[in-house]
Subunit: 333 residues, 2 copies
DNA sequence: CTAAAAAATGTAAGCACTTACATGTTCGGG
DNA sequence: CCCGAACATGTAAGTGCTTACATTTTTTAG
């Protein structure tokens, strides 16, 4: 069943059928109804490929993330997909892993499928080395590229970020206000967000007259157990700390588990703050105080901006949203 | 830049270019190299729409899940996407929510985009009422439909499931062996998996000569805090139990939190087993003993089966995988 | 060396749609 | 009652690729 069959049954030309299908051109109410009736009755669905060929778009955007099983990214993907859908777009998803080469491959795949835009979800796509971001710039020559949680200032690239610097600075200030002085900063990767968080951490210390101790700034491995072991190893080597500012909730949860393993009480002996306010933050005991960077708002803004771009309207190159500290049991402000 | 440009530059016909692109037909090594060189140099990418039109496929499969931010489903999606990718397929993802109508709408959308197959991830797509599954049967008239964690016996529908019945039965038997007699069974939805788990639970009780007490079988709300409150309300109404078999990890975590709120020690006063072995199971204190239903294997099998179907080979309508109990701190076997 | 088989390549007809342009129709105003 | 504007519809030329079939070239064997 194709557009010819429909036009035949309805006694009109294919152009007319196409017009009622797309709501373009003008069609008399009578023929429109007749055509719609035929379509309804025959259960006809336009062939998406042919349509894509003609229109040059299939209303699909590529969503890339490094690991869609990560609770935070999964949440982001969920919101992105829903938001796109409400704008009549679908999402081609890929979960690239953390290797640069893979990311590039996936990017090419997306482009070859002629997506209308690409959304890079999460901060792990931007690299400190400029040359490693070139593939993103190249992609932007073909379609708009949206970044969430990272910033790249280039034509046709739009960033929506959370003010991680401020959020972290304020959180750490709270820790300091509650009497902590040796605050461990833990992260897994130096992304834009990671850098901003670290800067916020340092800023808070400086502002409070506490010297920055590089020994307290640590990159930990991925994975809960691995991180628990890592923190324990730091502790057992003699490093002492009374607060933890974690760049991710899972790290914070690890810190909670570490505390228990060394019989430190939380939050008395050790105050802990996580980041992202994902499910895992609520699961630990005590539940983790976490910075909620509003994934939903972030995703909504990203898609809204994208729609503006796709509709040829102007759009802000960068949008900054603010985060919010959600208090739970690992702090005593 | 299209196939004509390439053929011109390479001094061959478009058919030849198409052949080297698809590895079909025979092309002499010399011309193949020449064409590849031109493609490389010009950065040409075939237009996916036109290709789809010609081939009738775009090597895309629709992945539907009810909530891609759910850690378990997110994990499944992640594995599915990667597995598909390794077979040179991409995934169109949607997160449908739990309403039947939405699911149907999304299904139609996927079909109208001419996906090569549809994967329904998670057990929440099948309904007890047969008529509510009709849209799945209809979809199967167009493309193969793969179910993970649910079973529907119909042409062109393939199911890959975990043996939830056995897994739950064995787990509950362990609880009983360790001295529990009043075991609460908690679930959120009666899906195929939910039913199988419940049956396994009942079977274990019967086998051990413990009468099934319907008061101990409860459906709880979604969400951590809500569930904690729900369990607490049961307890405060006088219901007593010394074990919990939860159909999902988050419920198990809720049970842990409940226990703490009522000063019950885990696992001494209350043994708890979760299901899915997702991240959250590891986050609580103590960490939750959980049934690992091998999402990775499930997804791999699903995609493998799909590939067989798409390649016209015969494939088993139903595959059953076994689960494994992962012991953590909420049990003392 | 040649005929037939095999391999390589080209030609052109789809695939199912969109849309610019041409044609036909209706309607109101002079 | 006629003319042109506005509206409705049809015609046909893309859109970029695949592939059956035709044609040419190469290889193989007798």
């Amino acid at each position: 069943m194709n557009i010819y069959d429909v036009s035949l049954k309805a006694g009109v030309s294919i152009a007319t059928v196409s017009r009622v299908l797309n709501g373009s051109g003008s069609v008399s109410e009578k023929t429109r109804q007749k055509v719609l009736a035929v379509i309804e009755e025959s259960g006809y669905t336009p062939n998406a490929f042919a349509r894509g060929l003609g229109l040059g778009t299939m209303r699909t955007v590529g969503v890339m993330c490094s690991d869609s099983s990560d609770p935070y990214l999964a949440n982001a993907v969920h919101h992105l997909v829903r938001e796109l859908r409400s704008n009549d777009y679908d999402a081609l998803l890929c979960s690239t892993g953390y290797e640069l080469e893979e990311k590039q491959n996936y990017m090419n795949l997306m482009l070859s499928k002629h997506v209308d835009a690409i959304i890079l979800a999460g901060s792990s796509f931007l690299d400190m080395k400029e040359e490693n971001n070139r593939y993103i710039l190249q992609a932007a020559e073909h379609v708009p590229v949206m970044l969430t949680n990272s910033v790249l200032d280039a034509p046709n690239i739009y960033s929506t970020v959370c003010d991680d610097f401020r959020a972290t600075r304020n959180a750490v200030l709270e820790l300091i206000r509650s009497g902590r002085t040796r605050i461990l900063f833990l992260y897994t990767a130096i992304s834009r967000g990671g850098q901003a968080k670290m800067d916020g951490y340092k800023k808070a210390l400086k502002k409070s007259g506490i010297p920055v101790d590089e020994a307290l700034i640590r990159r930990c491995p991925r994975g809960l157990d691995e991180t628990v072991r890592y923190i324990a190893s730091l502790y057992d080597t003699g490093l002492r700390f009374d607060g933890v500012m974690a760049a991710e909730d899972l790290i914070a949860v690890s810190a909670v588990k570490f505390a228990r393993s060394r019989e430190l009480s939380v939050p008395e002996d050790l105050s802990i703050i996580g980041y992202n306010n994902s499910v895992v933050a609520m699961c630990s005991e005590p539940a983790v105080t976490s910075i909620d960077n509003r994934v939903d708002a972030l995703c909504r803004t990203t898609v809204n901006t994208l729609m503006q771009v796709l509709n040829g309207r102007s759009a802000p190159r960068r949008t900054v949203l603010s985060a919010e500290l959600v208090q739970r049991g690992t702090t005593d402000f």
